[in-house]
């Protein structure tokens, strides 16, 4: 039913896999979240992951980044197996990715600048303090925060600024791979659009691979190269939105062709024409 090119097991042409998930199974007690889940993320793409609430998008993210040990299956990130790995190997991978959690997950006792400096200090303790401060300050600028945000504490920031600060921290080590968990949730449409643009421009500038969990149809249309659809405990299809729309799957049709989906699609088309 699913054409071969949209099957999550198929590795697309010219794809250099950066994340490979095979046969993943996750369960909490009796409740099975994922069963036989496959997914490949290619270097240099922005992959959007969509799915209804409770389909395990965040659990998938946690399995990939090693916060959750799956019951079964293989997860390879940046060429390393995430399941059987030593602590040293894990450190090596963690240095090469950045993660923006859903609520920012900024350390509340540290200022924004200190938050950005945490990963740098952890891995490169010998960097001279003035250089460290300058790195923090341009990462903050890169995250799109105003100049006076550095010495502020997370409790003094608005929701959008928390996400930008979280993004600045995720970018601290010049990652190859960026994980974003619902980056635009809770932002107003203007801020959300600005955030989408920021991610896209950073992705181009820094040659990032982005794994993006989202509910935001506008984000999907605007910046995602491919979209993976999570339903029935596994990834049912991966492809561009037009490819997915051609599928005869009820959830996909409902999702992209529902009233909100159509609005987002048409506004994006108008935008693209203009």
């Amino acid at each position: 039913m699913i054409p071969k090119e949209l099957d999550p097991r198929t590795i697309p042409e010219h794809c250099q896999p950066i994340i490979t998930v095979r046969g993943l199974r996750n369960s909490f007690g009796e409740q099975v979240i994922h069963e036989d889940l496959d997914l490949t993320v290619c270097r240099g793409e922005i992959l959007g992951v969509v799915g209804g609430s409770g389909t395990g998008k965040s659990v998938l993210l946690r399995s990939i980044i090693g916060l959750q040990t799956p019951d079964e299956g293989e997860v390879d990130v940046l060429g390393e197996n995430m399941i059987d790995r030593t602590e040293d190997e894990a450190k090596n991978i963690r240095r090469r990715w950045g993660i923006l959690f859903q609520n920012g997950a900024l350390f509340s006792t540290l200022t924004v600048a200190e938050n950005v400096e945490v990963p740098i200090r952890e891995y490169f303790p010998y960097i001279q303090p003035p250089l460290l401060d300058e790195i923090a300050s341009y990462k903050i600028a890169m995250g799109g925060l105003p100049a006076d945000a550095g010495p502020k504490f997370p409790s003094e920031l608005s929701g959008g600024m928390v996400k930008r600060a979280g993004l600045a921290r995720a970018l601290a080590l010049d990652p190859e791979l960026l994980f974003l968990d619902e980056p635009t949730a809770g932002l107003d449409p203007i801020a959300a659009a600005a955030f989408d643009e920021l991610i896209q421009s950073l992705q181009k500038r820094l040659d990032l691979t982005v794994f993006l969990i989202t509910h935001d149809l506008d984000t999907l249309h605007a910046i995602c190269d491919r979209v993976a659809v999570l339903a029935d405990q596994h990834v049912i299809a991966v492809g561009t939105i037009p490819q997915l729309l051609a599928l005869d799957h009820p959830w996909i049709q409902e999702y992209f062709n529902g009233p909100r989906g159509r609005t987002a699609a048409s506004s994006y088309e108008e935008h693209a024409e203009a």
Partner: protein, 387 residues
């Protein structure tokens, strides 16, 4: 930034035309002037500290030769950029990609503040002292205001008794009182043993071991039973009050209550207050009883005074006023503990870390106030002749 870049442009020659880059490259290798920093291999965050140190060691005028690097990340680009910015260094041999990366990081050179401004230490000490005084004053005033709000809450409930939340109060009785029986009982029992043991050792020097019973009886009834219970309740329930209310404050439950029309004082504070005030004397009585039993067990086993004699002696040596002294203080202490706990809970705003801070403050404040009041009571009772 936009106005800063043109000043630098002629110096570092980030020309788009690769022809100019080649010219520059040739010129520099033919007539090198000053020092040249040539990196082979990567110029990335991994080598950032070393690179910076090496660059710092070289004298001006400096030329950075990038022709042999194989990888550059934004941190590497930043180091090159800041050297150009601060020391007017020249950059040669940069490839198209590296030039564009250098341009990109330069766009983010905004004078962003990283650390809060620091004042001279003398002024800082004065500021902190002033803030501390103001803070203490505000806390005392706030506590008084909160006391008033609680009284108004009580008055409202007396006016409209239907608003009294019996279920909530009974539930608090269980949490504050019944569930504390075990730990308070055990603690008091052990304290009874300790007092008896320490007392008997000292009194034995005068051959007056039998007065150990007077010691245990009077000290537990007058002071320790109530005081130790108050400390335990402050640690157990006062902290819980602060943490519960503080968390509700953060999750906006209290705001939700207000908008629905439920008074947080009536719904949250008054049940806790009633529970603490009612349960404290009962727990204190229980603590006295267990401390007396603990002391009794010790004198029975160690001094061979049989339990019946022990009880008889207790009746003779403890005046009934001692029991009143202990029990009158108890509800007042309970009130103080609930007041401090709930007040600190309501002071939480902002982040979850503050819940912890406020909880600590609640316990410290209530134990401190309890001990101060205990001293006041001691003076008061002795002045009315209850010695």
């Amino acid at each position: 930034m936009a106005e800063k870049w043109p000043r630098l442009a002629p110096v570092i020659h980030f020309a788009h035309k690769s022809a100019r880059m080649t010219d520059l490259h040739d010129a520099e290798t033919d007539h090198p002037e000053g020092s040249v920093y040539r990196v082979a291999g990567p110029i990335t965050i991994t080598r950032a500290a070393t690179t910076q140190r090496e660059i710092d060691a070289l004298p001006d005028p400096l030329t950075i030769d990038l022709s042999e690097i194989d990888r550059m990340d934004t941190v590497g680009a930043w180091i090159v950029y800041r050297t150009v910015r601060d020391r007017n260094a020249k950059v040669i041999g940069a490839s198209r990609d590296e030039v564009s990366l250098l341009r990109q990081v330069s766009e983010f050179d905004k004078p962003a503040q990283v650390h809060p401004e620091e004042k001279p230490s003398f002024i800082r000490v004065l500021t902190e002292l002033g803030e501390w005084v103001a803070d203490t004053g505000r806390t005392l005033l706030g506590l008084l205001g909160f006391f008033g709000a609680t009284l108004i809450g009580f008055a409202n409930i007396i006016k409209r008794p239907k608003r009294f939340r019996l279920n909530a109060v009974v539930q608090r009785f269980d949490v504050v009182g019944v569930r504390a029986l075990g730990i308070i009982g055990l603690m008091s029992f052990l304290i009874g043993i300790v007092i008896a043991q320490q007392g008997s050792v000292q009194l034995a020097q005068f051959g007056a071991e039998v007065y150990t019973i007077n010691l245990i009886g009077r000290i537990t009834a007058r002071e320790l039973g109530t005081l130790m219970t108050a400390i335990m309740v402050a640690g157990r329930s006062g902290s819980a009050f602060a943490a519960q209310i503080g968390t509700m404050k953060i999750t906006e439950e209290i705001d939700a209550m207000r908008t629905i029309g439920v008074s947080p004082v009536e719904a949250l504070v008054i049940p806790r207050m009633i529970a603490a005030v009612v349960m404290m004397p009962l727990l204190a009585f229980w603590a006295m009883l267990l401390a007396l039993i603990g002391g009794g067990v010790f004198v029975w086993l160690s001094l061979e005074i049989p339990p019946l004699t022990y009880i008889q002696r207790l009746q003779e040596v403890i005046p009934i006023t001692d029991l009143w002294v202990g029990l009158i203080k108890a509800p007042v202490f309970g009130f103080i503990i609930a007041l401090a706990g709930c007040f600190q809970g309501f002071q939480v705003k902002g982040n979850s870390e503050e819940v912890g801070e406020r909880t600590t403050t609640a316990v410290v404040q209530s134990i401190f106030l309890v001990i101060v009041l205990d001293a006041v009571f001691a003076v008061f009772f002795s002045s009315i002749g209850w010695v």
